[in-house]
């Protein structure tokens, strides 16, 4: 038995701008620059159909994307029902539905790429 088994360095929850993987973000911004203007008002989350049923938070997904927390993001985005209410209420006219589509597209590709490696 490893006597040090209980002693491991814990993973950091900190968003570290020195290390974050911005591939997904860059992809989304390339095809949907309107995402740049998000001001995290939460209007999307407030109206979200999926958000009314579960703790799905589309605003936070946008933030996860902007902060490079792509690990949990791919699974989280799967709860989206694509109804499009978010885009309709967005005060900055961010095409959120396309942001979701782009996340799905690129994270699927990245996942496949990681599988290959």
């Amino acid at each position: 038995m490893n006597e040090f088994a209980h002693l491991v360095s814990r993973p950091s929850r900190q968003i570290d701008y020195q290390t974050f993987d911005n591939r997904l973000l860059a992809y989304v911004l390339r095809y949907e620059p309107s995402f740049l203007t998000c001001m995290s008002c939460g209007g999307c989350t407030a109206t979200c159909s999926a958000g009314k049923l579960t703790d799905f938070n589309i605003r936070r997904i946008g933030l996860m994307l902007r902060r490079g927390q792509t690990d949990k993001l791919a699974a989280e985005i799967d709860k989206c029902m694509f109804c499009g209410k978010c885009s309709l209420v967005c005060p900055r006219d961010v095409n959120i539905r396309n942001v979701v589509l782009l996340i799905k597209k690129e994270s699927t590709r990245l996942h496949a790429e990681n599988q290959k490696v």
């Binding site: 929850r13 900190q14 968003i15 570290d16 701008y17 020195q18 620059p33 740049l36 203007t37 998000c38 001001m39 995290s40 605003r59 936070r60 933030l63 996860m64 902007r66 902060r67 927390q69 900055r92």
Partner: protein, 352 residues
């Protein structure tokens, strides 16, 4: 009846003082402006561009000074600091350095604000780390026309603007909002981005208080065109790394996670504070100050420019933090109240 010429002393030749003085002179009053510095213009002399139109403040100062030339009865005494003011029979005796003593029927105080000393926020390392500068320092740098560089002469690849320095902070005793720093930050971020398009810019804010007309347009432009990123969270500390960059820590409150970042430069958006000059007025019990040390208005809604002492008026940022255009408006309002006061005084004297 022949109108008797009254004498008004205006203390402080910033834009509030200059504008009030001009308007009073135009109304026919004799006006003396007292300025402690060598040149008029106040803080604006150090400023490069104004928000929201990026115009240069020089034209405002020179415009106000040009206007002065048409009034023979307006006089400015610079390099003169007030030592005390006494009130006698409704008139004021103002004592300044150099044995100067001026008598006036009314006094307008337009002594402005003091820029918050960012060294007080030790955790941000201003005065300690060379790449931590204030918004005022940045403005000077922009005014110099030289490209912005880090202390070691490199083009910064990442710059962070930190909002609310010395504002909304009980730790330094200023619990109020300085109001203009948010938009200053956005304006300066835009200017840096224009100058250094490759530079990544972040703004750490608590609330973006972009209250003015066209302010939000700048915000949108900053996001859309310049890809400036806004992170909602107050900076907790800055520290110098081994390669002389700065490590900063904040919470990205919107995602509820602590955040760490290395930047090449930090710009602290220093707020506005009460001027030390205020103490002189309150210690002699001549005027009352509000809880933040600014001059107290007789009525904050109706007569913002009247103090608790009849005959002494206030204009501009000695009342509270204000933007340039608000200051000008405020100075206009002050001159109206002074006029009304002097007219009333004339009538009373006449009846007597």
């Amino acid at each position: 009846m022949e109108k008797e010429q009254k004498h008004v002393a205006v203390i402080g030749a910033g834009i509030a003082g200059l504008h009030t003085a001009n308007l009073l002179a135009q109304s026919g009053h004799k006006v003396t402006i007292l300025e402690k510095e060598k040149y008029p213009g106040g803080h604006l002399n150090q400023w490069h561009h104004l928000f929201p139109d990026h115009s240069s403040p020089e034209w405002i100062i020179s415009g106000l000074l040009d206007e002065q030339l048409q009034f023979d009865h307006l006089k400015m005494i610079s390099s003169t600091e007030i030592t005390s003011i006494e009130k006698n029979n409704g008139h004021f005796a103002i004592n300044a350095g150099n044995e100067l003593r001026i008598y006036a029927d009314a006094v307008v105080i337009s002594t402005g604000f003091k820029l918050f000393d960012a060294r007080q926020k030790e955790e941000y390392g201003y005065g300690l780390f060379k790449n931590v500068i204030t918004s005022a320092d940045l403005e000077q740098s922009l005014k110099s026309g030289q490209p912005l560089t880090t202390a070691s002469g490199k083009t910064p690849s990442r710059v962070a603007f930190i909002h609310c320095i010395g504002s909304r902070d009980a730790k330094c005793g200023n619990t109020y909002c300085s109001k203009v720093c948010c938009i200053t930050g956005v304006k300066q971020a835009l200017e840096i981005s224009e100058m250094l398009p490759e530079t990544e810019i972040f703004c750490f804010y608590m609330d973006l208080r972009l209250y003015g007309s066209k302010f939000d347009d700048l915000y949108l432009q900053a996001q859309k065109k310049h890809k400036i990123q806004f992170i909602r969270g107050r900076l907790s500390e800055a520290a110098e790394t081994h390669d002389k960059r700065l490590q900063i820590k904040a919470e990205d409150t919107l995602s509820g996670r602590p955040l760490r970042m290395e930047v090449d430069m930090i710009v602290l958006l220093a707020g506005m504070e009460k001027n030390e000059a205020h103490q002189m007025f309150s210690s002699t019990k001549l005027l009352e100050l509000d809880e933040h040390g600014f001059f107290k208005s007789k009525n904050i809604q109706l007569t913002r420019n009247e103090t608790t002492q009849p005959g002494i008026f206030i204009a501009g940022t000695c009342i509270c933090p204000m933007s340039v255009n608000e200051t000008i408006e405020n100075a206009g309002a002050a001159s109206i109240l002074v006029n009304r006061y002097l007219e009333h005084q004339q009538l009373t004297n006449h009846h007597e």
